[in-house]
């Protein structure tokens, strides 16, 4: 079967604008394949180039070397078959919640009434019925994430790229959002690349967890299949013995890298 998303030997080297000689290789020779309908989490210590990898998959960043294939076809420009959920606020502050959700359909040339009707439908699905006329600054962090989720899912992307989407939320809201994400995902299985630095979140959500080394020159150092039964409840699954086993196993592999990453940050 063709992979939904294949990153092939991706290397990303950034050159400083002021000093052409100063280079920073964020990602080195990294390959990652995601099957259709598969939920893959990528974990790694902070500052290890996880977001760089995701931006490459989204087509927002061109890699220095390597290729990206989307359902077998080489990617050129923005990845139109993928939706991207950003870590920080990405809603247009001058549009209300409904118009934010409907924006993608509007860009595709749908009449505004139809786009709004479907937007309302999606607001209902993420539990925000009646909040359509609110502007982003009037919404709480969790509600903004829901709007962003609806904004992305309304376009029915085949691939979902998520960059630590829930990292800014409090623990309770976060678990609610994780459960909602799983529910939406299981209703309509898309390929998901979920970036996080939270190992528990990664195990609770995914089919497969990929561990990255500390940066610079990040590369994958391990891959773990998560054989926990679905449907899962993220707050309960953390108590299952198999979860603890997997957690211990992956943490053991990650620990050295996390310490390395921490030491590098201390040095800076």
């Amino acid at each position: 079967m063709t992979a939904a998303l294949a990153l092939e030997n991706i290397t990303c080297t950034f050159v400083s604008r002021e000093d052409r000689a100063s280079r920073y290789t964020a990602v080195k020779d990294t390959s990652l394949k995601v099957a259709p309908g598969e939920f893959v989490s990528v974990v790694g210590p902070t500052g290890c180039g996880k977001s760089t990898l995701l931006n490459v998959a989204a087509g927002l960043l061109e890699p220095s070397a390597g290729a990206v294939r989307v359902f077998g076809e080489p990617l050129a420009g923005v990845n139109s078959r993928a939706g991207y959920l950003f870590q920080s606020d990405a809603l247009m502050p001058w549009r209300n919640a409904l118009d934010n959700v409907a924006a993608g359909l509007e860009f595709r040339g749908l009449p505004i009434e139809e786009a709004r009707a479907r937007g309302n439908d999606w607001l209902k699905r993420v539990g925000l019925a009646g909040f359509g006329d609110r502007y982003p600054h009037q919404l709480s962090g969790g509600m903004k994430k829901r709007v962003a989720l609806a904004q992305t899912l309304i376009l029915d992307p085949e691939i979902l790229l998520m960059d630590e989407p829930f990292s800014a939320l409090d623990v309770q809201t976060r678990q609610l959002m994780e459960n909602e994400l799983l529910e939406l995902w299981s209703a309509n299985r898309k390929s998901v690349v979920f970036i996080t630095h939270d190992l528990e979140e990664a195990i609770a959500l995914s089919d497969r967890v990929v561990v990255l080394s500390a940066g610079p020159e990040t590369r994958p150092i391990g891959e773990y299949r998560i054989d926990l039964a679905r449907p899962r409840d993220v707050s309960e699954i953390r108590l299952v013995p198999r979860f603890l086993e997997l957690h211990a196993e992956i943490w053991h592999a990650m620990k050295a890298e996390v310490l390395k990453g921490y030491a590098q940050q201390q040095r800076q």
């Binding site: 989204a58 950003f86 809603l91 993608g104 502007y135 600054h137 009037q138 904004q151 992305t152």
Partner: protein
């Protein structure tokens, strides 16, 4: 309740201060109330500073007699035209330069030079080019408004959050759609933030233009009165202009409230 009664008390104090200033003005300039403090001639103070009663009387005459409306209308027309044309030009050029790095790099020194030039000095040139009518005042106002709007638009486009931009791209926005749905709204928020400034400067352009040579407008009235040392009329003109500027500013505040609903206001805590 407390805050509303507090604000009305504040209003009363503000009015009292205004009345106090007028009384001080009256007492200081009246030839008969006080013995001359500084000037030898008791009428000298009134000659230099005018007399508030006569000033108010002059204003009353203007409005009751209907003389002033034509002049106010001309000044308002010049202000509005300068504001609209300056804003449209500033918006267009700002967007163009912000989105095309080549043009911006090429024109950068010229923009800086034009902006740092004291542009009021162009008024006589505009009078030669466009005559003594409305057009030369509008031209002066435009040069003042343009740069305010231009720099704000430029900044607004440059400061578009890269995440919002990337998100719009991922949602499938074309270049044209990015301009319409991301860059322009973002730039407009900066333009609105400078609305008070640009309307104020359009007004300054109109009045200064009139003052330097015209046949109608409030600036013209002041110029005429000054020519015959009618200091009371000069002060009356200044007071009318000030009141008018306050009304303009208040209109801008109303417009701003309508147009900027999406921006958080300080003190707003409603979050449901």
């Amino acid at each position: 309740m407390r805050s509303s009664s507090g604000s009305s008390t504040l209003r009363i104090w503000q009015l009292a201060l205004l009345a106090g200033l007028f009384v001080l003005w009256h007492v200081g300039t009246s030839p008969t109330l006080l013995p001359p403090l500084y000037f030898d001639d008791p009428n000298r103070a009134a000659f230099f500073f005018g007399e508030p009663l006569k000033v108010l009387h002059r204003i009353w005459d203007w409005f009751a007699g209907g003389d002033i409306y034509r002049h106010l209308w001309i000044t308002l027309l010049e202000t509005m035209l300068a504001f609209v044309i300056g804003t449209v030009l500033g918006l267009g050029v700002g967007l163009w330069l912000a989105l095309s790095p080549m043009a911006s790099a090429l024109l950068d020194p010229y923009i800086k030079a034009l902006n740092s030039m004291p542009r009021v000095i162009l008024a006589p040139i505009f009078a030669v080019w466009f005559g003594l009518g409305v057009a030369s005042k509008v031209a002066l106002g435009v040069t003042l408004v343009f740069f305010i709007v231009f720099f704000n638009v430029y900044q607004g486009v440059r400061e578009v959050s890269p995440v919002v931009l990337a998100n719009a791209k991922m949602l499938g926005a074309s270049r044209r759609q990015l301009l319409r749905y991301v860059f322009i709204p973002s730039a407009m928020s900066w333009v609105f933030a400078s609305l008070h400034n640009s309307v104020g400067l359009a007004f300054v352009g109109a009045v200064v233009g009139e003052y330097l040579g015209s046949s109608q407008g409030v600036g013209y009235l002041i110029l005429q009165a000054e020519g015959v040392f009618d200091i009371n009329t000069v002060f009356a003109g200044i007071l009318v202009l000030t009141a008018f500027a306050l009304v303009l500013d208040w209109t801008v505040t109303l417009a701003e409230r309508r147009l900027m609903v999406w921006q958080p206001r300080s003190g707003e805590t409603e979050k449901i």
